[in-house]
């Protein structure tokens, strides 16, 4: 995937998150946990993964799903509780799984994805299936006991898991520095032991390179790997927040490091993209989201009988 394509994916995520925020402002629309600001982490990681790889993610997942190639119309239909959603409207925004894309399990219980990833990887290992399991969580989840249990188990059993901590500096409403005395979640990998690295999560190329190296390390038999992407959540914990807890002083430097601005500047500077081309990419992303919103809004609700289906196999 070339750099312009990476930018296009990031623009799609940004257009999605901005449009969702607009819809939420306009009227009744379900709350979501925005991934705005974390686009480079999602796109860089997904560009490094192959079709055979499996993904477990969390409540802040729109970026991961879109970067993996999910249809924004079906994501929005799911968010809006429509039958055309990936989970038939039974998930909503917080736990969307897309089996056909290898997004095998999603949990909104912070750390839920960490609990299930070893089992997915164990099944792949026992069946000699190719690929790795990417398990995406935040710095908040790293403070759950299950983070430590999962890393220990994965290491003891040498499971093919790429643990990806998107350190967005916020644990719901608490700054990471209040709850963790280590600066980096990746430091915690040493004790298990497990190779680990922290990378600039707002630099899509750096994330892509680091994720590819991590996958190669796992496939070379070095065991599981912890990759920390250093990024920043540009919105509140969820869409209902007034964001008063985020100060202007902390916002400013991170907005200067906005992942999309950086990549666009870089491409313009390198002559890989001109201003018209950049505008066209932006317009195309927004048009895709417009079409997706229209699809989701027109999609039918689930039938009442759906209340009772799919509880048991």
């Amino acid at each position: 995937m070339n750099a312009v394509e990476l930018l296009e994916r990031m623009l799609l995520i940004r257009a999605y998150e901005e449009r969702v925020a607009e819809l939420q402002k306009q009227g009744p629309f379900p709350s979501t946990c925005s991934s705005q600001g974390q686009e480079a982490s999602a796109v860089g990681l997904m560009a490094a993964l192959r079709p055979q790889d499996r993904i477990l993610t969390n409540h802040r997942s729109a970026g991961h799903l879109l970067a993996r190639g999910a249809d924004p119309g079906r994501i929005l239909a799911e968010v809006m509780g429509k039958a055309a959603g990936y989970c038939q409207g039974k998930s909503g925004s917080l736990h969307i799984s897309v089996k056909e894309l290898g997004v095998v399990l999603t949990s909104t219980i912070v750390g839920g994805e960490l609990s299930m990833a070893p089992g997915v990887a164990l099944a792949m290992k026992m069946r000699r299936e190719p690929g790795v399991v990417a398990c995406i969580f935040g710095d908040g989840a790293a403070c759950e006991g299950i983070f430590h249990e999962a890393l220990n188990l994965a290491s003891a059993w040498r499971l093919p898991i790429l643990f990806v901590c998107e350190n967005n500096q916020w644990q719901a409403y608490v700054r990471r520095q209040e709850t963790m005395l280590t600066e980096h979640v990746s430091d915690w990998a040493k004790g298990y032991p497990m190779p680990a690295r922290t990378v600039d999560g707002n630099d899509v190329g750096a994330v892509l390179d680091a994720a590819q190296a991590a996958v190669a390390s796992i496939e070379a038999g070095e065991g599981p790997y912890l990759l920390e992407t250093w990024t920043w959540r540009q919105r509140g914990h969820y869409s209902g927040d007034d964001e008063a807890h985020i100060t202007a002083e902390e916002r400013a430097p991170w907005l200067e490091r906005d992942p999309i601005q950086r990549l666009r500047q870089h491409l313009l500077h390198e002559g890989l993209l001109d201003a018209a081309g950049a505008q066209a990419l932006q317009a195309r992303a927004r048009a895709r989201i417009d079409a997706a919103v229209a699809f989701a809004q027109e999609a039918p609700w689930p039938q009442p009988a759906q209340l009772l289906t799919d509880v048991y196999a």
Binding site: G85, C87, S91, M116, V120, M126
Partner: protein, 327 residues
């Protein structure tokens, strides 16, 4: 038929189902150490010791089952399930529904439960009703070695997550078990009538079934014929068998060792009130432990656990053969 203890029956069920289906995988604290013959037959990859990490063991089973394996995990004692609740309740029980049916979770979570060993409330807590209350799970609590084997085999073959609780004190009691693997199967969700009777229905499960049978024997000496129903599966719950019996006897006593509040007995009593009220000749009654942690002291444990004498006394009240005790 052959004679096996419940623990032997459990082991035999594991062995037979592992032989039958390569997808069956055992994980737990000491699973490999305590079952070396299974390691030898099926290999260390399929019979795994784990760290003392109940949340990770259960989560691992959820992930593996979503990928098509059939893990059986042993969490040893029911109170240790509390560490595994997120994986069992939030993931195994809910993610099929929440994913719109994209995944299923064919796993079995084993633990021992119940009073009688003097190990205290952090090893002994009958929390089966918690799981009955959780959508997407099945719950099994057998009372005989034949049912331990037959229900465990069915649980392993079931495409849904099953919580399988074995009453600690039943583990070493021998009983008759079918020789042939397929003949041993017992379907989930079917109660068994352990003793027929026309005067009163005693509904129970796990070791309280033995208590009810003792009570029925004593009552027979007084000319009262008690029917004893063993629920075996608590979810799905075979209410039809209960209702059929109560419509004949007109009297119901539910007996279980778990506490009374919002328990299985409350559910059975409510179902009978809703669907067979006209048939009742007397109020529905429960005999359960008190709403207290399971005591360690043998003397207190005996007070805690429902006794046959209590069941007899309650039935005598319902039959009008004994004056009600002062409140």
């Amino acid at each position: 038929m052959k004679s096996l203890t419940a623990q032997q029956a459990l082991h035999e069920a594991l062995r037979e189902e592992m032989a039958r289906d390569d997808a069956v995988l055992l994980m737990g604290e000491g699973m490999a150490t305590l079952r070396p013959d299974l390691v030898e037959t099926f290999g260390a990859e399929r019979v795994r010791n784990t760290p003392l990490s109940e949340a990770a063991i259960a989560g691992c089973a959820v992930g593996a089952s979503a990928m098509g394996l059939r893990p059986v995990i042993d969490l040893l004692y029911a109170p240790f399930f509390t560490y595994a609740m997120d994986a069992l309740v939030n993931s195994a029980g809910k993610l099929r529904y929440m994913s719109g049916g994209q995944f299923s979770f064919p796993l079995v979570a084993l633990a021992q439960t119940g009073a009688g060993w003097g190990v205290g409330a952090q090893h002994s807590h009958n929390l089966e009703a918690w799981f009955v209350h959780s959508p997407g799970l099945k719950v099994v609590m057998p009372s005989t070695p034949a049912d331990v084997k037959g229900l465990l085999k069915s649980a392993i073959r079931d495409d849904n997550p099953v919580v399988f609780l074995l009453d600690m004190t039943l583990g070493f009691t021998p009983g008759e078990v079918a020789e042939e693997p397929e003949a041993a199967l017992v379907p989930l969700g079917q109660a068994a009538v352990r003793r027929a009777g026309r005067d009163v229905t005693l509904v129970s499960y796990a070791k309280s079934v033995g208590t009810c049978l003792q009570a029925a024997e004593a009552l027979a000496g007084e000319g009262v014929e008690a029917e004893v129903i063993d629920l075996r599966s608590l979810k799905p719950l075979d209410l039809d068998t209960v209702l059929r019996s109560v419509r004949r006897t007109g009297r119901l006593v539910v007996v279980h060792e778990a506490g009374p509040l919002c328990g299985v007995g409350a559910e059975v009593a409510c179902a009978v009130a809703e669907r067979a009220f006209d048939a009742l000749k007397a109020p529905v009654r429960r005999v359960t432990s008190a709403d207290v942690p399971t005591p360690a002291s043998f003397a207190l444990e005996q007070v805690f656990v429902p006794q046959a004498g209590q069941v007899v006394a309650v039935v005598q009240e319902l039959m009008g053969t004994k004056a009600p005790a002062a409140a």
